[in-house]
Symmetry: C2
Subunit: 676 residues, 2 copies
């Protein structure tokens, strides 16, 4: 039999299952790990400079000159954070990153705080990156204008499918575009600086415009207001730092030596990221780029607002148009590469989130299903949950990057800061026992680096909280708090249950003395006959059939048929003046238990097995309700005796075929070739 079309398309879409021993094959070399884990941090150059300019433009044209100082401050923070995380990666090569560091060194509450922050942040990474990608797409393809949210949701669904295929294949598929992006942006910057040196660099097309400062800044700003605005621009620029922690969470996915490879990749990522942000901001300054949140009213031409008709390209787009003024494909290459890298940035979260979710599930903070690896080893459940929340955010904020970015960053810096506290504690603890002078020196050096990291990230966290709280950060904080409480609750629940269920000492098997069996009967059809036969075959101590007298005529008819057929099992009729089914049976079972408390009651329920979900609405409803109630009664077992209706065979064959095909692919493909 040939596999059905649905099976094949599922296979094409989701790839083949992986065997446990194949896990080794999915490890990543540096040249693949860099694009997979670094695209988040790199891609922020697509929106971080825009946010810096947009915030400063509130204070008018003159304020824009501060932008390059802000970019340098961001670069300094980035250097420090990269150096700090190189220590993390070396100290904890097993992944879990910030969560593990906080958990081990500061206890479960700190760990859970970090975990909540990271999870919220992963969701925001997807939402922000994909929304920004949609804006870039709309700026290159005018037809998309106004449909950014829809485009963004489709992109998230696409990424979800890709990631359900598994880690390694997504890595390979995503490497090339990331490299194209790096070379495109750095190439554009080099070309721009080249033209600058030789005196040919034109101004941006928006350079002739003036910017209307907001009222409070119109007549010379107060020092405090200006300082606050600069800090706000700085904290927006710190969006460039998000994604650095992704590598420390992903160390186990690196090829050996895992820690060293991860540290090298981290250093590479930091250098490229700084080069990009600083050169984009510098070029934008040199080329006099004007960029405002609401360009129609804020940008002025000869003192008059440019109006709603004005189209404002992103900063990188404006640079590309100026630098490649005689080579228009250059602009489209930059826009396309940026759009694609942003989609891939979201992929960083798709790599990190399920790993973290699985670790949390292992530690009992999330439902156990999340711990189980899916068909593709890629933690399907976590991927689906991440995508769901990101879609909710995108739809709620209509894919507007500037509004989403206010929720972003706070989570990253919460985990940065707590993780650095943990690292300082780690080295201090290590130094307590360590005698070897070489190792001590290295630990002391590491502790200094992490302490500097802690100070700086702590300061940035405070700045972010002060400048962003009312603008949206409070939403992220509430989400973190909810997640924290939820996970705490789940943990407590699992704990309670585990204590309740733990078998004490060498408790013997407490054997009930006898089994009373009752078979529930409503009509005398094949399912009932089968249940009676199976129950009889089990040879219980006592066996009777029980029916509830809801309708006297029907019950009389049943009894008559019972006698005609000469069924060798007594039929007990239970009275039910209020036409209930559940209560009389429950009462009867409890009576048996009361009379012989050392016995156990086995209730046989004939069940129809159907092939389609809608058939469940038509069958088994009262059986299901009854079963739910019976299970509450101690000393009762409930046995479902299935009767397979014809429609169930189709469903069974469908299931079997899917599994058989998957099995053939696994085994066959492995024999044919080691790689695919």
């Amino acid at each position: 039999m040939t596999p059905a079309l649905g099976d094949i398309s599922k296979r094409l879409l989701l790839g083949r299952k992986l065997r446990s021993t194949q896990l080794g094959e999915t490890l990543l070399p540096k040249r693949i790990a860099l694009p997979v884990f670094a695209s988040d941090a790199l891609s922020s150059v697509a929106y971080a400079p825009d946010e810096i300019f947009l915030t400063l433009s509130i204070a008018g044209l003159a304020a824009l000159t501060i932008s390059w100082k802000i970019s340098l401050a961001v670069a300094v923070v980035l250097v420090v954070v990269v150096l700090s995380y190189r220590q993390n990666v070396h100290a904890y090569p097993s992944g879990g990153g910030d969560y593990e560091v906080a958990n081990v060194n500061l206890g479960p509450t700190a760990g859970l705080t970090v975990a909540s922050a990271l999870m919220v942040d992963y969701v925001l990474t997807v939402a922000v990156s994909i929304s920004s990608a949609a804006q870039y797409a709309a700026s290159a393809i005018p037809a998309l204008e106004g449909h950014q949210a829809t485009a963004a949701v489709i992109a998230v669904l696409f990424l979800t499918t890709m990631n359900l295929r598994g880690v390694r294949e997504s890595g390979a598929a995503f490497a090339i575009p990331t490299y194209i992006f790096m070379f495109t942006i750095l190439g554009m910057a080099a070309w721009g600086f080249g033209r600058l040196l030789f005196g040919h660099l034109p101004d941006a097309s928006s350079s002739g415009l003036d910017i209307a400062a907001e009222d409070q800044f119109a007549h010379g700003a107060s020092g405090i207001a200006m300082a606050f605005l600069i800090l706000r621009a700085f904290s927006s620029g710190c969006a460039a730092l998000t994604g650095v922690e992704a590598i420390s969470n992903g160390v186990p996915a690196f090829k050996k030596p895992k820690s060293r490879n991860a540290a090298t990749t981290l250093a590479l990522l930091g250098s490229i990221s700084i080069a990009m942000v600083v050169s984009v901001v510098t070029l934008a300054n040199v080329m006099k780029v004007r960029f405002a949140e609401d360009p129609g009213t804020q940008l002025l031409r000869d003192g008059v607002p440019v109006g709603e008709g004005y189209h404002q390209d992103p900063v990188i787009g404006q640079l590309a148009k100026g630098i490649f003024d005689h080579f228009s494909p250059g602009f489209y290459l930059v826009a396309a590469a940026t759009g694609v890298i942003l989609v891939l940035a979201a992929n960083t979260a798709f790599n990190g989130f399920p790993v973290l979710g699985s670790i949390l599930a292992r530690d009992g903070y999330l439902p156990r299903q999340l711990h189980t690896r899916g068909d593709r080893l890629a933690f399907s459940n976590g991927i689906v949950i991440l995508a769901g929340f990101a879609i909710v955010l995108i739809v709620s904020f209509n894919a507007e990057v500037t509004r989403l970015i206010q929720l972003y960053i706070v989570g990253v810096f919460v985990s940065f800061t707590i993780s650095q506290i943990g690292m300082v504690r780690h080295w201090t603890r290590l130094l307590r026992d360590e005698q070897d002078p070489g190792k001590r020196a290295r630990a002391i050096r590491s502790r200094v680096i992490n302490a500097i990291g802690l100070t700086l990230t702590g300061v940035v966290l405070v700045i972010v909280l002060i400048t962003k709280f009312l603008l949206g950060a409070y939403i992220a904080i509430i989400a973190m708090a909810c997640l924290f409480l939820l996970m705490k609750g789940i943990h407590r629940h699992y704990d309670t249950v585990r204590r309740q269920m733990a078998a004490e000492g060498d408790e013997p098997l407490m054997l009930p003395s006898r089994v009373h069996a009752i078979v529930l009967v409503s009509k005398l059809h094949k399912p009932t006959l089968r249940a009676l036969a199976f129950a009889k075959a089990a040879r219980p101590y006592q066996l009777e059939a029980v029916t509830v007298d809801v309708d006297r005529d029907e019950a009389d008819q049943l009894q008559a048929e019972w006698e005609t057929r000469g069924i060798p099992i007594p039929l007990k009729r239970l009275a039910s003046p209020y036409r209930e089914i559940t209560r009389p049976i429950l009462q009867y079972v409890r009576d048996i238990r009361r009379q012989s408390p050392r016995d156990v009651v086995m209730v046989y329920i004939p069940e129809y097995v159907v092939g389609h979900w809608w058939e469940h609405l038509l069958h088994n409803q009262s059986a299901l309700r009854l079963k739910g109630r019976l299970l509450f009664t101690p000393g009762v077992m409930v046995t479902s005796v299935p009767y397979q209706l014809l429609s169930s065979q189709g469903a069974e064959e469908r299931q079997d075929r899917v599994e058989r095909v998957a099995g053939q692919v696994r085994r066959g493909a492995r024999k044919a070739s080691g790689d695919r």
Copy 2:
């Protein structure tokens, strides 16, 4: 222990359960049956005249004079339909009304067509009546303006609660306002005619306005266009006929002699209804009421549209303002009585729909749950479904009566017509065997009446279809077609299943020879120990514990603990290279079956019983999936061995308490007094 607050409030809201033998107590005397079943037909006087005037006003002021002729035509149809249905009620006293008549005389397809039409119509009755009530409320209480849909939804929910209490109590609660409505409207009409006779009746406040005809009617209408418009006004007026069939569906709820009481009530209903419609339309003509769909642009004062600021009262409201011009409470009494009667009209559907649904469920056209009487004997399921669909309609059409009314009526006339065909057939069949001359004469007379009814309702149906199809009737027809196909499908399904399950001849109990039992084990905790103990107590032919080797370390640990404890049951480890749980177990069970096909396999699954729905997300997930798959395999039984976690006790006690309280009320209240 005192019952919890929740139990008491449920009791207050839903009333006490009824015992089967109490069913007799819920039968209705005529004086209660009239308001319960007739409010639908009576209440249509609140919107039917408005729709007549509104449609005619499309052709300008002159066309309004036709309105009283249209009301007479409606009255004629009403007389004929009432006379016809008196025959139905006598011929079929068991309820089911049109459905039963069509089913018995014309076969199941005709019956199902009628049933689909009636069900759609019940939903529309609720939607139209409640929406109209919301409009009346908004006209008396300006604050409600713009919130009609919300008010309508709340009213539907209120009615749902009332009806979940049971038939009789709702009848008693609804009788008084219906009588108030009758006396108010008829009293107003009498007062109006009195003032007319003595020369004091003022014109309506809108009498001075002109009406702008639509373009096609502006310069003298063509005969065909005018005829079409008149027919459309007539079919809108026929909304006054909806609800007549409610009595024939409800015959079993009447006190004995059921048929005669129902026929008398029907005649009463017809007379009152005609009196109301004709006098309202006549008075509106005399008092020169102007009424338009879009009053702001259609109504002209001195040739200029009155504009959006103009408030247009319903026709009855305008009459009340004129007739009671020196007695303003009169207007509020009319508005209040009309609003209330409309809510009660919706109640007619709440009485009829669940009865019909239950009959259809008995005949296997709807899921069996609908047949079972609920706690309050009042077919709770049907009530809830009716309310759900009505709310969907109200929200979709924003509670606009004029739009909803286009969907209405077609269903009623479909069932009128088919039912009359059925009645003609019924009498013809009766006459074939009947010899008694008196009875023959009566049957012939009845056949003539039903034939006239058939002709007239058939003509009206054609008119309704022609004039309303594109305006919205197509939606109702599509809904009927869907319902028809759905019920046909359900019937075919139940049929197939019944044939599959029917026990043949005197088939003996096919006893399997032996029982192989396997207990599924993942960890060694109390639930597992209990499952092992229970399984051992059942003394199967062969018993083993089975675990799946998903994680080698965990499995090794389990085996070690197994041996330490010296559990006297062999532990079988199943390999699972792809970390699946379901497939290896399924394979193992099938292997056992293959080796000994005459045996049966019993799979014991330890299950956690939890008290809250959310706990299910945290437990039993893989057990549930496994169970679902095992049931597909023939020769396998699945036994759930419950382990009650502490949280389950709370849930059990809650359940028990509800039932105990309900039981006390039932028994206690009956002893204390026979009536309540």
